[in-house]
């Protein structure tokens, strides 16, 4: 086993060709520039001759990831000149999409072991994986409509690829969260496992996947998993149009100031 490589946001360990990427940023692995930088560093430097599988998981108590760093986004909107905001957001979205497409299409089996909160951009990151293992505590949600947005990191096209339209509409149009059992029942997650068992189960899946000849494994994956490119492009266009609207800044302000127990639920209209 290689010694772990530590970035401020992620820890990476490689054992027997399986790269384990631990999201490790309090409070809940929010995805902003630092996390994006860290994940790009990991996935742009993967040795694909030596890598046989990748596991994504979190070491943070609250969960896998609460999604986009909304506080950083709000502060950016306050502190960056309006004439520059559109360009900066667009650049960020293009970077996120490029990274998530890269993870999505890696020629090795990828597994996301999810516990706790897996919301918004965090859910979108999990959806880049081939297989999702959901611990008992896992909860999946797309709460973006409360911010005046649709998910912008490729989540809806990837969800559409995996589950039926009714499930997509239920998740997006209500913002509700699904528990692990529900996620498995609709085909979003492959297995529900006990609290704390996600990483070990993911390792077992990785060991099984690495029993297959690498080229065969890669070809099998390429045959059954294609990138929904047109829908991803449509999502980027829609998201970048919506984020320019004033209601988004107001919704972000309300989120940042919300001290209620369930900030992911929409406020009163």
């Amino acid at each position: 086993m290689n010694a772990p490589a530590t970035d401020a946001c992620v820890d990476v360990t490689t054992r027997d060709g399986v790269v384990e990427v631990a999201l490790s940023t309090e409070p809940c692995n929010e995805i902003g520039e630092p996390m994006l930088d860290a994940l790009e560093g990991v996935f742009h430097s993967l040795d694909l001759d030596e890598t046989r599988a990748v596991i994504l998981y979190s070491t943070v108590r609250r969960g896998f990831s609460a999604g986009a760093d909304l506080r950083a986004l709000y502060e950016g909107l306050l502190n960056v000149d309006e004439s520059e905001q559109g360009e900066r957001i667009e650049a960020f979205i293009h970077r996120i999409h490029a990274l998530f497409d890269l993870i999505d299409q890696l020629p090795v089996t990828t597994i996301a072991a999810v516990h706790g909160v897996c919301f918004g951009g965090g859910f979108e990151l999990a959806l880049t994986a081939d297989i999702i293992v959901a611990e008992r505590t896992a909860r999946f949600a797309f709460p973006e409509l409360r911010l005046g947005l649709i998910p912008g990191f490729g989540g809806i096209p990837r969800l559409e690829r995996d589950v039926g339209g009714a499930v997509v509409r239920d998740l997006l149009l209500t913002g509700r969260s699904y528990n692990a059992a529900k996620a498995v029942s609709v085909g979003l997650a492959s297995q529900q496992v006990g609290r704390g068992e996600g990483l070990e189960v993911a390792r077992a899946i990785a060991r099984q996947a690495t029993r297959f000849e690498p080229t065969v494994q890669a070809q099998g994956k390429a045959f059954c998993k294609t990138l929904p490119t047109e829908r991803l492009d449509a999502e980027k266009t829609q998201f970048l149009e919506m984020i320019q609207r004033p209601i988004v800044r107001e919704a972000l302000r309300r989120f940042v100031e919300d001290d209620g127990p369930m900030p992911w639920l929409p406020g009163d209209a």
């Binding site: 209500t174 059992a181 992911w264 639920l265």
Partner: protein, 76 residues
């Protein structure tokens, strides 16, 4: 046992608090000392225990154990 008392017992046991001091009309978030993540945990435990689904948006008006029990009773 009524739903609200089952709920109180389950929540108290899960969060390691003394359930004997909890009443149906108590503010469940304050009396359990739970944040948003723990609120989700409680939802999950109730859903799995009773094989029901509790859509998050139904919790917007929930303040007390009795309020939450009413939400669960609609699905039991």
């Amino acid at each position: 046992m009524s739903t609200v008392h089952e709920l109180i017992d389950l929540a108290a046991s899960h969060f390691g608090v003394d359930g004997s001091g909890l009443a149906p009309d108590d503010d469940l978030f304050a009396s359990l000392g739970i944040d948003s993540v723990k609120a989700l945990e409680l939802m999950t435990e109730l859903e799995l225990e009773w094989d029901i689904e509790i859509p998050d948006y139904e919790l917007r008006e929930v303040k007390t154990f009795a309020d939450l029990a009413a939400v669960c009773d609609r699905r039991r």
